[in-house]
Structures are given as structure tokens and as C-alpha cells.
């Protein structure tokens, strides 16, 4: 039974700005289905006293002191910018704003 539809793959791909050809959507729907089904099998062995877990490490409260370190030099920061001007990254016009 398929749980991941073609439409869902296409939608998530669009949200993630991934350009997929129709045959890729078909293939990924199948592959993602296998992955989801495999993971779903975990719930078959998990007893009700096992809570849903997002973080497997038994760690909490990993904090840093509020003490500054030297910043990256601006030249390094902008070295990988496609374009820069006045110490800032220049990017194409942002569509749909104002």
C-alpha cells in the first residue's frame, strides 16, 4: 500500500525548491514509500511506555557562555558571495515583497 503520493512528493519538492522531472517524482514516491514503511515498523516493536523521541542522546542544556569571539573578516565573508557591494551581499531582487 502506497502512503506517499506523487502529489505529496511534488509539493514537498516545490516547497524545498527542488526541480524534479515527472519520472523523478514517480521514482522518489516509490523510494520514499519504502523508507516510510520501514520506519513505521519501529512502532510495531515499540511498547506504549516508549515515548516519541526526537533526540536520541540523553543530554539536555548544552549551553555556551555569552562571551564574544572575533568575527570572520569581511573579506572572507564576502569571498564566496556571487556579488557584493558596500560590504554586503548583492542578491537578485526579492520577488513579491513590497
Amino acid at each position: 500500500m502506497s502512503t506517499i503520493s506523487r502529489d505529496e512528493v511534488a509539493r514537498v519538492a516545490a516547497l524545498a525548491r527542488i526541480d524534479l522531472r515527472p519520472e523523478e517524482v514517480d521514482r522518489l514516491a516509490g523510494e520514499l514509500d519504502v523508507i516510510v514503511e520501514s520506519i513505521a515498523r519501529v512502532s510495531e516493536v515499540a511498547t506504549p511506555d516508549v515515548p516519541a523521541t526526537s533526540h536520541p542522546l540523553p543530554m539536555t542544556n548544552v549551553f555556551r557562555e555569552d562571551v564574544p569571539v572575533p568575527a570572520l573578516p569581511v573579506a572572507d565573508v564576502l569571498a564566496s558571495a556571487p556579488d557584493a557591494q558596500d560590504g554586503r551581499f548583492a542578491v537578485p531582487q526579492i520577488l513579491g515583497e513590497e
Binding site: 509539493r11 514537498v12 516547497l15 524545498a16 525548491r17 526526537s54 533526540h55 542522546l57 543530554m59 539536555t60 542544556n61 548544552v62 549551553f63 555556551r64 557562555e65 555569552d66 562571551v67 564574544p68 569571539v69 568575527a71 570572520l72 569581511v74 565573508v77 564576502l78 556579488d83 557591494q85 558596500d86 560590504g87 554586503r88 551581499f89 548583492a90 542578491v91 537578485p92 531582487q93 526579492i94 513579491g96 515583497e97 513590497e98
Partner: protein, 502 residues
């Protein structure tokens, strides 16, 4: 959209026919030294892109670490807003693509905010109190800053483009979300304004942010919907983004009430959307329509472990919370014994701190109020300045009042001394001396006579010290006799009592 917008309905008419419901999201930038997830320094006004690390630039492989001080500040805010503090909570990724978000996601909190279920009592200018329920307060990070370069001024072939500065990317934010605020009726705009103002005041006394509106340290998104009656279900809301002054918050609510009323009157439906606020005329205009594109695909942030503030830590923070603005106002109101209306005027004039400091400098509350709300308020108005901006300090007013109390100057001359202080001639004492304003009176010979009379009647001194002022007349009589009646009896009495009190 091609549909024409119906004319606005006058505000008064709109609130007679519809019940406004507001909801406010406030973002506050925390005043930590470093960013939320990396140790880049954060300060206002630095040169572009001089406060970044691989984490705040979203470079591949960079790993975030939580700023412990920012967590503490978030808990302080939560506690001040009467919230529960989560036993455990986690961060989440909010995925969207925008140039000022270099990682392509904002690290935020989604289903597990650090603080939830609180409230804040908000006081309007006339003293009416409205309770605002707080749904949640969560931790997240700020985005960078885009500067749009217009086509006409553009240097890249006349095309329009944007410049991005990532100094602000990763600055710690706390977002505070209200539940729908109902029951405010026609006063909804005032309640919205007073709420944001009350939050700003709280951020300041908590010392978690400079909370300067003009710098964007505090930013509000204002949700508004209308319904036919207070019993009806909530209507469709709009969210006006980035309303960044108290006055704008009030105007944005008023405008949306008038606009939505016109749409509903015409039998149409309000479109759920985000809107932009325009300072120039107080209007709003449509931004993005909420749609599928707003699916942020939240999921738990795998690079950060959960935050689980121990109850001991929370209680430790609670114990160090300062007195909050409303409690302070109530305490000072009691201590000073002002009438309700007097107290409101003091608060509304921004004179609370000034009067408190003046009292600390030795003046009575009544005298302090008289100066700041009288003569100084008049001068501030003349100069179109705030009271706090006048070139005189509470300490100087305290000194001035002491000069009056000591009889060295009178009220009329005090105004001249004020002129001198405001003109930069120094402290009141210096002005009195340099302008020769002191009332001529020589207590020297009097004091000699008084000290002699006191030494001669130690038993009377004892009685007066014991609280019985009756026998003091015997001393005064002796002094008057010694000075052959030329002393001012009232002055003698004052000096005698001063001397005895030591």
C-alpha cells in the same frame, strides 16, 4: 486583486456594529553580548557583515550552540508575564527561502515553547485595567537585514536588487504571542498600544533588552478580526506585520477595523493575509496571501539538544526578578499619597522616574511633583521637549527644594535659580551664590543665644527629645529675652527644634 476596496467605515460606526478582536505577536531582540547560536558579537550600528561566524552565515558544517544567557533572559520574560516555564522544550527548524535567512531555515521553537499560559494586566491612560492572556513565549533568532536598491538608482544595468547584511542574523529573539484579546470593544486600539508599551517597560526593568523601538529592538505584528457580536465565533483575521511604534500599533488597529467593517458591510469576506503598515498615512496594504507556500515544514532541530530548565534554576531566576513596572507604580502611588488622577498624570507625563529620584535626593513627594508637573512641565512644553530631556537633574531639583526648605531662597527666587541651572550655570547652590540670590538672614548670633539657652535648661531639652514639645516655649522665651525681642520667633522655634533634634 481587481476588486475595488470599499470606502473605509468611520471608526465609531464600525465599533458600534462590530466587535473587534486583536492578537499581538511581539518580537524582542535580547541584549546579550553574543548571538543566539554562535559567539559572534551583536551590537547596533556595526559595519555590515562584521559580526558573523560560519553559524550565522549558514556555512556548510557549521554547528550551533545555545547561548545560556539568552535562555535565562527568555525565562525571565516568561516569569514576568506570569507564564509556566517548560520542564523540557526543544528547538525546531522553520524552513523558508529568503536571502536574509542564510541557512534557509530559522531556528525557532514550534510545539514546545519555553514559556506558556501567562497573562499581563495592562493599564490604559485613564486607569482602566485590561487583562491580556499570553499563549506562549518562545526563543528564536533574528534574520539579516535586506536593503532594496531601486531600479532608478541601481548600478547593475538599472536592475533592481537587494543588499544583505548578516550582522543581525542570529541575534536572539523572544516572540510573545497573545491569545485573542476580546472584550476591549472600541478601546481595542488603546489596549493594543498599552500592551506593547507595557511589554517594552518590562523588557527594560528586566534588563533583557534595551527595547528601543526606533532601533527595531521591539517589533509587533498586529492581528485583527471583526465579528458581529461578542458571542459570535471569531472572524477572519489579517496580520499587519512590523508595526514598530506605539502610535503605529494603535493606528494599525483602527485602520483595520475601519477597512474590515467596510468589507463586511458590503457583504464580502475579509481575506486572510498578511498586510504592510504605512507610517505616512496609517494605512495597510496586502502582503502575501496565506497559502500553501506558508507551509514551513517545521521539524525538531537535530543539531541542538533539548533545553530542560531545572525547577531550582527557574526559582532562582524568579527570586531575582526586579519589581515590575505596574507593582512599582502601585507602591509609589501608596508611598507618595497622590490622588489617582495626579498619579496618572505623573505616569502619562513620564515623570515617575524623575519624581522618584527627586524624592531620593531629599525632596518630599509633593514638592517633587510640584516641580516636575508644574514649572518644569511648563518649560518642557515651551521647548517641545520631554521632561527627562530638560537640562536639569532630579538631584538638582532635590537640592533646589532643600534650599527653599532651609529658608535660604523662596519659591519665587527658586524659579530664577532654575533658570540658572537650565542655562548651564551649575548646581542650585552655585547659582544662588554666583547670582547673589540668597535671602539675607544671619542666624549666627541667634544660634549663639539658642545654644546658651539650651545649655542652661538641659531638663527642657530632655523633655522635648522625649517627644513633649510643650516646654520648648521656655527656651524660645529665653532666646527672645537674650536678643531683646529682635529675633523672628517663628525662626527661633525652627532653629531650637533643629538644634534639639541634633
Amino acid at each position: 486583486m481587481t476588486t475595488t476596496t470599499p470606502a473605509l467605515v468611520a471608526y465609531g460606526d464600525a465599533v458600534r456594529r462590530y466587535d473587534p478582536v486583536i492578537g499581538i505577536e511581539v518580537h524582542v531582540e535580547l541584549g546579550t553580548r553574543t548571538k543566539m547560536f554562535c559567539p559572534a558579537e551583536q551590537s547596533f550600528g556595526a559595519e555590515p557583515n562584521t559580526q558573523t561566524t560560519p553559524v550565522s552565515l549558514g556555512l556548510p558544517g557549521a554547528l550551533p550552540v545555545v547561548n545560556g544567557t539568552a535562555v535565562e533572559y527568555a525565562i525571565r520574560i516568561g516569569l514576568a508575564l506570569n507564564c509556566q516555564i517548560a520542564e523540557s522544550c526543544r528547538f525546531a527548524r522553520k524552513n523558508y527561502f529568503y536571502p536574509d535567512v542564510p541557512k534557509n531555515f530559522q531556528t525557532s521553537q514550534y510545539d514546545e515553547p519555553i514559556a506558556f499560559d501567562g497573562w499581563l494586566d495592562v493599564e490604559l491612560e485613564d486607569g482602566t485595567v485590561h487583562r491580556v492572556e499570553i499563549e506562549r513565549a518562545h526563543m528564536e533568532e533574528d534574520a539579516g537585514k535586506n536593503t532594496h536598491v531601486g531600479g532608478s538608482a541601481g548600478r547593475i544595468h538599472g536592475a533592481e536588487y537587494s543588499l544583505v547584511d548578516y550582522n543581525r542574523a542570529g541575534v536572539p529573539l523572544v516572540e510573545i504571542v497573545t491569545r485573542p484579546i476580546t472584550g476591549a470593544g472600541e478601546r481595542a486600539p488603546e489596549v493594543a498600544r498599552a500592551y506593547v508599551q507595557a511589554l517594552r517597560d518590562i523588557f527594560r526593568v528586566l534588563d533583557v533588552s534595551e527595547a528601543r523601538m526606533e532601533r527595531g529592538n521591539v517589533r509587533a505584528d498586529v492581528n485583527l478580526s471583526l465579528r458581529a457580536t461578542p458571542e459570535a465565533p471569531l472572524g477572519t483575521r489579517t496580520e499587519t506585520k512590523n508595526v514598530n511604534s506605539f502610535r503605529s500599533v494603535e493606528r494599525a488597529v483602527r485602520y483595520e477595523v475601519s477597512r474590515q467593517a467596510a468589507i463586511l458591510d458590503a457583504g464580502r469576506s475579509v481575506v486572510q493575509e498578511t498586510r504592510h503598515f504605512h507610517e505616512e498615512d496609517g494605512s495597510t496594504s496586502p502582503g502575501r496571501v496565506k497559502s500553501d507556500a506558508e507551509d514551513y515544514r517545521y521539524f525538531p532541530e537535530p543539531d541542538l539538544v533539548p533545553v530542560a530548565p531545572s525547577r531550582a534554576w527557574v526559582e532562582e531566576i524568579r527570586a531575582t526578578l526586579p519589581e515590575l513596572p505596574q507593582a512599582r507604580r502601585r507602591r509609589l502611588h501608596d508611598e507618595w499619597g497622590f490622588a489617582d488622577a495626579e498619579m496618572r498624570d505623573v505616569v502619562n507625563a513620564g515623570a515617575l522616574d524623575l519624581i522618584e529620584a527627586t524624592v531620593a535626593a531629599g525632596a518630599t513627594a509633593a514638592a517633587a511633583r510640584k516641580w516636575w508637573m508644574g514649572e518644569l512641565a511648563r518649560r518642557a512644553k515651551q521647548e517641545e521637549a520631554e521632561l527627562a530631556d530638560l537640562a536639569i537633574t532630579p538631584a538638582q531639583i532635590g537640592e533646589l527644594q532643600q534650599l527653599v526648605d532651609a529658608g535660604r531662597i523662596n519659591d519665587k527666587i527658586a524659579r530664577q535659580v532654575l533658570d540658572g541651572v537650565l542655562a548651564g550655570e551649575g548646581d542650585p547652590e552655585q547659582v544662588v551664590v554666583s547670582r547673589g540670590l540668597e535671602i539675607v538672614s544671619d542666624d549666627g548670633p541667634l544660634l549663639v543665644a539658642i545654644d546658651e539657652a539650651l545649655a542652661a535648661q538641659p531638663d527642657v531639652v530632655e523633655k522635648v527629645r522625649g517627644g513633649n514639645q510643650g516646654p520648648v516655649g521656655a527656651i524660645i522665651g529665653a532666646v527672645m529675652k537674650a536678643t531683646r525681642g529682635q529675633a523672628d520667633a517663628k525662626r527661633v522655634r525652627e532653629l531650637v527644634l533643629e538644634r534639639i533634634a541634633g
